[in-house]
């Protein structure tokens, strides 16, 4: 009897943490196949790569938990890089940073107002704002990339503790803050409730429209953080940066186990999704796979994840 209980417990733990287990297994197997894989340089590369889309993925987790699909992250990322690169020589670090976040939050507020208050379709609205924001980014830079030699940016980009880059530690801190907000505050619980059953949430007195609004603002804020981290790595802002962001970020969030239609998931799950996607692309680059085949695999992963998620959810529907 006790053994059976133990077996069930193990099964449950495995099925809950399958993504983490797979990434650990892949990590071990590949460190045997390619010894170069666990060299400090490669691990540093892996960790420095993770926060760039990872921060935006944490933001999107809030959105998807609330059953809102936002695809404007790529545009916000590129806008924040070019804004900072343009403004920091003129206004100085702190003030430029303030304006960058203000601009990103403005985009999030526009999205949130239109989706939350006017109840328009989240995907279409973020598609439109994505186009408009990218247009603004192209307009203010005259379609050229802008270099950014701010000393603080360069310093942050080169700062390591051991082989762990400091931006990764910041990223981990943000993940745990997000997880805490989602799991242990009333606001976080409200997000789950609104995502899973909006009518029931409204009936219990949760301000559903306001929750949706805030979720979009949070997503835009995290996208701006993501843009800032990318800026520290590349030391230049580009208006055509992150054009594949929506696809990559959504696949990170969904592969981690956050449902596409809300109410299930969390920031720690997204962290495991980010890590496994980073591993997959790192391994593919190590195996000398062409970049277009990598894109093919990225598309296939998105399709596979969406099909698995939706097939299970819609199995009993007629059409």
């Amino acid at each position: 009897m006790y053994k059976m209980q133990q077996a069930i417990l193990i099964k449950r733990i495995v099925s809950k943490n399958v993504v983490i287990l797979v990434s650990v297994a892949a990590f071990i197997v590949f460190s045997f196949i390619k010894p170069l894989f666990i060299s400090a340089t490669n691990l540093n590369g892996l960790l420095i790569e993770a926060p760039s889309y990872g921060l935006a993925a944490i933001g999107l987790t809030f959105c998807l938990l609330c059953n809102q699909l936002d695809i404007s992250m790529g545009a916000v990322i590129s806008l924040s890089t070019v804004l900072f690169a343009l403004l920091s020589p003129v206004l100085g670090f702190a003030f430029a940073l303030l304006i960058v976040f203000a601009a990103a939050i403005l985009v999030g507020m526009i999205n949130g107002l239109l989706v939350g208050l006017a109840k328009l379709d989240a995907f279409m609205i973020s598609l439109s704002t994505m186009t408009a924001v990218r247009g603004v980014a192209l307009l203010i830079t005259d379609t050229k990339p802008v270099p950014c030699h701010d000393p603080i940016i360069v310093a942050i980009g080169n700062m390591n503790i051991g082989f762990v880059p400091v931006v990764f530690i910041f990223f981990l801190a943000m993940v745990f803050v997000a997880e805490f907000v989602l799991k242990y505050t009333m606001f976080g619980r409200n997000i789950y409730a609104v995502g899973a059953a909006p009518a029931a949430a409204a009936a219990t007195g949760i301000k559903t429209r306001f929750t949706i609004f805030i979720v979009f603002v949070i997503n835009a804020f995290f996208s701006a953080l993501s843009g800032f981290v990318m800026l520290t790595r590349m030391q230049s802002g580009s208006p055509i940066l992150a054009s594949d962001a929506a696809l990559s970020i959504i696949s990170m969030v969904v592969i981690g186990g956050t449902a596409l239609n809300g109410g299930r998931g969390g920031a720690l799950r997204t962290l495991s999704g980010i890590i496994i996607m980073g591993l997959i692309f790192n391994i593919m680059s190590m195996m000398n796979i062409y970049v277009n085949i990598q894109n093919l695999i990225k598309g296939a992963i998105v399709l596979g994840v969406v099909v698995m998620d939706r097939y299970a959810a819609n199995k009993n529907k007629k059409v």
Partner: protein
């Protein structure tokens, strides 16, 4: 007696409101038409070459590709779907139609084969949707995934190079004109629109398309095979993508793996500005034509007055938001206001 009076009063209110709503709906219904008029008047004021025959012919030629794509997009939108892979599909077809001919294939055979490829992409989309019983939000995700697949197939095919046409028979499609008056791209667009309008309004398939878009569940219970209807819509959009690719490459005589990326957004904006409802069930080819004309004339005016193309992106985005909101307004006011007013009267 009292009860009767109350009912009379309520009916009176309802009648009044219905007249008000009819007025509001009338003005909302033709909002895209007014927009077209305003843009044409604006164009004649700001630019003196706008209303010349040469410029009008130019506009018609320029809208042909977007018009063909918007036709395909209309079918998908009417069935309650959305096709993000349209642009990538067009790029792939552009590359293939040139590649096949440069490989020594007969021109007509190459065009036929490319149309089959375009329809195959639509079929793949639809098959995945049939498997997962997709809602609108899932369709966004699925077509986003297939966009990536199709794009990388195109990139693998071209190896990143530009492809050029060296067949004068083929370029005659884009450059030539019937009797020296009607350019072939415009002719193709017109014929396609007439055929599409006939399918939508005169065939049972068209009616089923509207029903599916209106309510998936109700159509299922009425015995309509919803997945099949949707498959038809996506194959139609793939067909449009391939046809647009043929017209586009014969006009520009060149293609690369991302030459039509973003065209799906233009097609979608055109269809929605014209008044095709997102989520399906409302609008026909007349709306699409108006939307395509609005887009084409807007771009033309901006080019004539020297506004950079980047500003066009911003304006398109803002316009799409406004038109989605108008589309929602068109559906909202009638039921809500009648019910609210009757409730107030009912309390008295």
């Amino acid at each position: 007696v009292l009860w009767n009076e109350e009912v009379e009063e309520m009916l009176d209110v309802k009648r009044n409101l219905i007249w008000q709503d009819k007025f509001i709906n009338f003005s909302l219904k033709y909002v895209s038409f007014y927009l077209l008029l305003v843009i044409v008047i604006f164009g004649t004021i700001v630019s003196d070459v706008f209303l010349t025959g040469q410029n009008i012919m130019n506009i018609l030629k320029q809208i042909s590709v977007n018009g063909i794509l918007a036709c395909g997009f209309t079918f998908v939108l009417l069935s309650g779907g959305f096709d993000l892979s349209l642009g990538a599909n067009t790029s792939l077809c552009c590359c293939l139609v040139i590649g096949f001919q440069n490989g020594g294939m007969n021109m007509y055979f190459a065009i036929l084969l490319v149309i089959l490829v375009g329809m195959l992409v639509g079929l793949i989309n639809a098959t995945i949707m049939r498997f997962i019983r997709a809602e609108l939000s899932d369709i966004f995700m699925v077509t986003m995934g297939t966009t990536m697949l199709v794009f990388s197939v195109a990139l693998t095919y071209t190896q990143g190079y530009e492809l050029y046409v060296n067949n004068t028979d083929f370029t005659a499609i884009g450059m030539g004109s019937l009797f020296g008056v009607v350019p072939y791209p415009v002719l193709i667009l017109a014929v396609l629109m007439v055929i599409a309008q006939t399918i939508l309004l005169k065939t049972s398939l068209g009616r089923k398309l509207y029903f599916t878009g209106g309510s998936k569940t109700a159509s299922f219970h009425a015995g309509i095979k919803v997945p099949n209807v949707r498959t038809f819509a996506f194959i139609a959009s793939g067909f449009a993508a391939a046809l647009a690719a043929v017209v586009m490459t014969s006009r520009t005589t060149g293609a690369n793996s991302h030459c039509a990326n973003g065209y799906e957004f233009d097609a979608c904006v055109a269809a929605i500005i014209g008044g095709i409802a997102l989520g399906g069930g409302k609008g026909d080819m007349r709306h699409t034509l108006i939307g395509v004309l609005i887009m084409g004339i807007m771009v033309n005016i901006m080019n004539l007055t020297g506004i950079p193309s980047v500003v066009q992106m911003i304006i398109k985005g803002i316009m799409l938001i406004i038109m989605i909101y108008v589309g929602i307004l068109q559906q909202r006011p009638r039921q809500m206001r009648v019910i609210r007013e009757i409730k107030i009267k009912g309390d008295v």
